[in-house]
Each structure stands twice: as structure tokens, then as C-alpha cells.
Symmetry: C2
């Protein structure tokens, strides 16, 4: 069974309204007048990280990818539960040091978890618990006519992975984006009251935009001419169409993708300075289904591969 | 690094009071005047279940072992998040059917989770969320002079595992206890206001009693003459000392082990009828540290192996 068929088969079990029909990255549980947001993401050795990635970076990434889901729901992290497969002493020790650094950086604590003896590639899992102050944006709230926005720059983590694989030159700034992603927690909190839909980009801008649009019952249009590319990316890979297409289908960036009414353009743009984070319009939502990709308005054929699946 | 050394190294990261110093099976988060209990347990193929165990039973067990942790904290389950490694179509389909049966049986829903592509033995993880109505018993509250009590019968699941491995004759009732454990949710809720400490027995009565005593700063005494053994156990393995020792060091029973003042004997015994579940005194807590094992009061040497570790 592939991932989407499996999730489809689980949907009947997700009868709690907080499960959001499994269409979202996080569950939302209202309790005692407060709003809890819960998410659970796993990293598998050789699938989500390289076997020779430094263990401290793997720990950071495990925390960051989960907090990124909280960020996309505008939630402030409270703590995490760790599911850990024991390995060698040196790896475990370095992992704990990295975990400590990550938890301290985000001001949260370890709440509990489980440790198992491993056999085979490690599977690490984390459950993150956060609290939202107000409405929790879903993927499903987008409206036709909304603009699609993206935080930060796109493609860097994918380029970092290609660097580590020796496919392109090694550039520290790109490798750093792959190994030490920054969940956009502050931006998520500020944006949550403004957006009609929000998610994080983990599998690639095109595939994730298509998912947001599908959850909203709409079509996404992404204009590749408007992609925000970093200096490091431009220096190494440039801005030709092929490079922009690679950036739009790479994963692991953990930027925020969100839909908002054009009336809010000014308010959203004004957030950039306060956040120290670029927020760029990369497309729109329109009536229909699926995805359109344009380059400065000119229609492009859909690429065969929109991003990562089955991960 | 072994499990206890690893958990020790994590303790400094568990600064939230709800983490209970990682000495408990669950985290306790107070929010909006309500008390949430969170737990996360993993099952690894070949470690916690047999590769040819029916997938629906593995799903049941994954739910049951997590709800057992909630039961030990007197919490009522609210929902779960699933971490799943995809495998073959037939296995995945049967797993979902078993998950559905388990969630329906316990009246809870799937809230979310993550699905990954697997490579190597499956690692399944679950996070269970529950709510406690009052005080949440920990492992650490035991008092010298408290009696130690056990729900149900002990050793059955371990005998079921030995049956499946062909080491002893196959007895359905025992295999059933191994594959389909019953978390003692109702008992946990009723007992929570009475006990001074409580946990579930997952790794063996002796090792888990030693853990409860250590968390309480005391010594546990377990009297093997008082072990509650099932009819199925007695029929197959009998009640000689060696058999009772095997029952006290077998894992996977998911019964409740709890400490309570002798003044509460009557109140606890009175619960049995209502619950339809035996509650038996199996020992006591006393000043000191470690564990003593007796047989009808006569001191026995400590067995080398008290139960399962590093799981």
C-alpha cells in the first residue's frame, strides 16, 4: 500500500474533529478553554537523513521538523515525547547533546517517551505538543482568489542534500539548511490570525501547494518566476528555469506556505521586517482542482515529479 | 549505551514538572484546569512482537500497551497519534482493520500521526493522550508499610510467547494474553484516588516492583506464594516455585501494580466485584532499597534476571 492509500484507509478511524480528517499536519484538541496542537513526525535512517549525518544534527532535525508542523498551525511549542532506537554509545551521546541544544534553543523540555533496542536502520520519532492562542489554520481554509505566499527561500535544503551526495559542489550554507532547518515558529504565530490556510513545505513547494489546494477544494497556481531563491542557491545553481523547477520540487525546506486574501498584502508584507524573514507571493488559489505552474505568467507543462512522496 | 544510561542522560532535558523526571511511564500536563496524560510506546518487529504475529493483533497490542500506561495513571483515553512504517499491502490492510477494532473497543479516535517508507524491521509507535479526573498517581509516591497489589493474573503473556515459540504446549488463553492484552482502564480510574503509587507491569513483576520501589526511595518485597496465577497457567505449568518465579519475571502482562496503605485493604478488595477483576496483595514496600523475594515469608535468593530490560 502506498502512503496516500494507507492514509485514506485510516480516515474512517479519525472520527475526532481534532483529527481534521487527517488532512492536516497536526491534531487540534480543545480542552479547558485552551487549544492544544499535537504532531508526530518520524525520521528513518537512509530515508530522511543520511547514515553519516552528524547525530546532533539528526536530533536537531527531528525536533525542527515537528516544531515546523506546530509553526504552520500558529502554535507555541510546549514539549516533546521522544521515541528512540538505541544504537552505539558515541551516536547516542552525540544525539542527546544535539537534542539538548535543540530543546534549549526552542525553550522547551522533554516530557517523556520510549527507548527501544534497535535492529536495522534507526527509526526516530517525536511527538510535539503546542498551544495555539487563537484560531488554528488548517490546510483546508483556502479561498479562490487568495494569494499563495512562502516564507524564506526555497530549494536550499534540497541543494544541501545534493551537495552531501556529491552531485553538486559543497556549499556550507546549503548543507546547513538541510541539516539544521529553522521552524518558522514566530512567523507562524504572527500569520495564523491572517491566513485562510497554512502548512509547512516539507516535501516540495509544488506537491505541498497541490495538497493545500486539494484540501481547500481548489487549484493552486505557482509562478516559478516569483520563487524566492537564496544567494547561496543563486551562486551555485543560478536562476534559469531548470534550476527554479528543481527548487520548487525539492524537499526539507520547512518554510511556511500560506494562503491569504489580497486585501491582506500590506499587513503581511509589513511583518517581514519584524520577523527578519522574507515573505513572498509565489502564486494563487483558483477554482478548479490540481495544480498549474507558470513562468512569469506563461503556462508550463506540469513536471512529472512534484516533490517527495511516500516518506 | 544501554537503556538506563540513555534515559539517565536525557534526565537533564526533562525540566518540565510534567515529565516527572522521566521516572514515570507518562507525562502529565496541566492545562486550563484539566489534566492531560501523554504516553508514547513503540513496538519493534522481532523485539516486541513476532514477525509472524497477525498484523491485527500487533495493532491491538500497540494500542493496548499505550492505553495501559494511561490506565496506570488513572487516565481516560482521548485519542492516539500513530507512527507507521509502511510494509506490504496485505499487512497494512490487516493492521488498519486491527487498529479500527482496537480504537472502537476503547471508544477513541485516531488523531493524526506520520507514515514513513520502511526498510528493515518495522518500528511502530503510538502516542496516546488521556485525561485524568483527579490526582495522577506516579511510581514515586509509595510509602514504607504500603502493601503492593497486582490486578488480574501474572505470567500468562510470557507463557503465551513461549507457546508461540514452541517451547511449551500451545494454549489459546495464554497466546491470547500475549497478543491481545487488556489495558486495565476502568480499574486504573477507580484505583487512582486510593493508591500511593501505580504503574503497569510490562517487563515483569519483579523488575517493575523494583522500579516502583526505587522511584519511591524504598525496597519492594514480593512474596511468590501470593502470586495470582490463571487456570490456564496452572493447568500447563503448575504452581511450583520454579513456575511462580517464571511468572514473576515474564513480561507483557499489562496488569496494574500499585501500592496502598493497609487501611485501604477493604476498600480495594471491594472493588473486585464491580470491576470483575481480581486484585491481590503480592508484597509490600519497606525502608531500604532494591528488592527482596520471599516464598510464604521465607527469604529467597534474588534471581539473576528480574524481567525484560533494554526494550
Amino acid at each position: 500500500m502506498n502512503e496516500s492509500a494507507f492514509i485514506e484507509s485510516l480516515r474512517a478511524l479519525a472520527s475526532h474533529p481534532g483529527a481534521r480528517g487527517l488532512l492536516d499536519d497536526a491534531a487540534v484538541v480543545e480542552i479547558g478553554g485552551r487549544t492544544l496542537v499535537l504532531t508526530k513526525d518520524m525520521l528513518v535512517e537512509g530515508v530522511h537523513y543520511l547514515p553519516d549525518d552528524p547525530p546532533a544534527d539528526v536530533a536537531w532535525k527531528l525536533v525542527a521538523v515537528n516544531l515546523s508542523d506546530l509553526a504552520a498551525k500558529g502554535a507555541r511549542p510546549m514539549g516533546v515525547l521522544l521515541g528512540y532506537s538505541l544504537g552505539g554509545h558515541a551516536w547516542d551521546t552525540a544525539f542527546v547533546a544535539g537534542l539538548r541544544l535543540a530543546l534549549d534553543s526552542f525553550g522547551i523540555a522533554l516530557l517523556g517517551g520510549d527507548t527501544v533496542g534497535g535492529n536495522g536502520p534507526r527509526t526516530l520519532s517525536l511527538t510535539a505538543l503546542g498551544e495555539a492562542a487563537g484560531t488554528v489554520p488548517s490546510r483546508a481554509g483556502g479561498q479562490a482568489g487568495d494569494r499563495l505566499w512562502l516564507s524564506g527561500t526555497i530549494g536550499d535544503a534540497g541543494a544541501g542534500l545534493r551537495s552531501l551526495r556529491g552531485e553538486i559542489a559543497a556549499v556550507d550554507a546549503l548543507v546547513e539548511r538541510y541539516r539544521n532547518p529553522s521552524p518558522r515558529l514566530e512567523a507562524g504565530e504572527d500569520l495564523a490570525p491572517l491566513v485562510s490556510a497554512m502548512m509547512d513545505v516539507s516535501d516540495g513547494l509544488l506537491i505541498d501547494a497541490a495538497r493545500l489546494a486539494a484540501a481547500s477544494g481548489l487549484r493552486a497556481v505557482i509562478d516559478l518566476a516569483s520563487l524566492p531563491l537564496s544567494e547561496a542557491w543563486m551562486g551555485l545553481l543560478g536562476g534559469a528555469l531548470e534550476a527554479r523547477l528543481a527548487a520548487a520540487t525539492a524537499g526539507d525546506d520547512y518554510e511556511l506556505l500560506f494562503a491569504a486574501s489580497p486585501e491582506l498584502d500590506g499587513e503581511i508584507l509589513a511583518l517581514q521586517d519584524r520577523l527578519g524573514l522574507p515573505l513572498n507571493r509565489v502564486g494563487a488559489l483558483e477554482a478548479g482542482s490540481g495544480l498549474r505552474v507558470t513562468d512569469g505568467g506563461a503556462e508550463l507543462p506540469l513536471p512529472e515529479r512534484l516533490g517527495w512522496e511516500h516518506r
